[in-house]
Symmetry: C2
Subunit: 333 residues, 2 copies
Amino acid sequence: MAGVIKFGNKPEILASSAVGGDTEAKGNLGKYFDMTDPTDRFGKKTFEQAESEMQRLALNFALKKSGLTPDDLDAVFAGDLMNQCTGSSYGLAEFGVPFFGLYGACSTAAEGLMLAAMTVNCGYFERAASVSSSHNSAAERQFRFPLGYGCQRPPTSQWTATASGAFILGLCSGETGVVLSEALPGKIVDKGITDQSNMGAAMAPAAASTIHRYFSESGMHPDDFDLILTGDLGQEGHSICRELLLSQGLRMGENFSDCGILLYDSEVQDLHCGGSGCGCSASVTAGYVMKKFAEGKIKNILLIGTGALMSPSSVLQGLAVSGIAHLVRFSKI
Amino acid sequence: MAGVIKFGNKPEILASSAVGGDTEAKGNLGKYFDMTDPTDRFGKKTFEQAESEMQRLALNFALKKSGLTPDDLDAVFAGDLMNQCTGSSYGLAEFGVPFFGLYGACSTAAEGLMLAAMTVNCGYFERAASVSSSHNSAAERQFRFPLGYGCQRPPTSQWTATASGAFILGLCSGETGVVLSEALPGKIVDKGITDQSNMGAAMAPAAASTIHRYFSESGMHPDDFDLILTGDLGQEGHSICRELLLSQGLRMGENFSDCGILLYDSEVQDLHCGGSGCGCSASVTAGYVMKKFAEGKIKNILLIGTGALMSPSSVLQGLAVSGIAHLVRFSKI
């Protein structure tokens, strides 16, 4: 079975952008968003259409930053949490760029980055984008309860981020100097978790599996990285993941964090275990992480995008929630 | 913008398999399935779990034919029509193979074949699988009406196939001699169709766009192929596609057909415009087409996988249904 994929031709993040809602603006990373909307509506009538609009805006911001037009893109890899991934298809239709629809739940950003890097690295595409999103109100009413019902959320629950992140990749021209240097696609891991209010627990074993596989195969050590980010396990899932890794002999240090933990201000915002959703790791990476690279604060990070593979129907039918975790490594060259 | 992708290293279809339900067994192509179940249940309690089981069975049949084990696979690209693509995630979890979740509606088989070929062709993976499925009963109750309601179907409607198709790709070893030689990823095309009982009309412009682009760029002519298969426009959509192409100066011949038209027996089975669903083009290609290659009856075909990008919510919110069409070319070497 294939191991860690190394990208010899240095697919570079030419530009990235993050768009978010009001809760995201008020969180720890509010200032790293290119745009936030205090209404969460982005000028649209429905939350679902607002999610599509976030993807459209995010890709537009990234294009603008890179000085490119849609015609300069050879492909876009995109996905979201909505049924039939309509956040992406409606949001990105107008660009007229060859479109690969993905579904990786909250791991979609990492999945899209990996595929964009793979296809750019070996020359199928000169430039490819990866875009993903989630919208709290669209996700809540689809996955859980009608919004007006005001259901109390259990302590292990995570808050689906209202956010989108877009990345444009191309062969390295020194634009940002941040390249995708490695990737490791994840396997589905099912540990029998049936509590749909504890997605962190369902995804933690998959994250631990991919992280453990990476360090076993790559010869790297956790200390070699400025940041090792899961996205998005939240506090509960992240602490389970840390324990699982420790039990396998891998002690993760202070540089081990999670996009869902970073996104919100747990002192002020009562969002329980932190953020989740395809837009969480996408926007944290596209906004915060890329800014830290630009400032020279970090040079080498791992993103482990984690997804919970379930639907409301599968949970009602009593099936367990499995998880998946895709790893990508960003390096400053 | 990138054009037709050529696979110089000849990613080969090492094996393929098709699994279907009762309606499929009684259709024109019944004998090309590796297995059909007259109950449509595949031993499972729910239709959704039956769909997952079809994916599991299809990949198992393909593995058996190729003499491979799951450990020999480096990746699987998979998707289906169910919310959050649970047909694939539950069906393929036990294989323990790195998993890329896709959503391309009925174009998923072509999208997966394209990505598997791209990743095998340039050596990221030694072998990769593409698996997709749909289940009539799971899709009907998710997209349209409860099954027991017995709603009358409009004449333009298509019948979601209860089927799954699996392909295993690897670098050419002469196993079957059938290779993926070219691919052209599709763009989203929105012509404002809002009738969710006429998906063929919604997808036809996307199919015409990709086919026209292919013949403009490749220097090939429709007569160069034994078969040019859309999948799945059905009778209505296919005739619209033929007319659209003619209006653009491209006259398609007798070799231009559609997986949704081929699958069922329109004389006996009252399924209106024919088949659709991720399992339709997947099983027609993995079963019938691959058998015709093996018999030496065909040597060169195009599959244009077509998908309607919508959800029940997006239709209720009044949004139009856009389409996408991904093209792959199979050649006997």
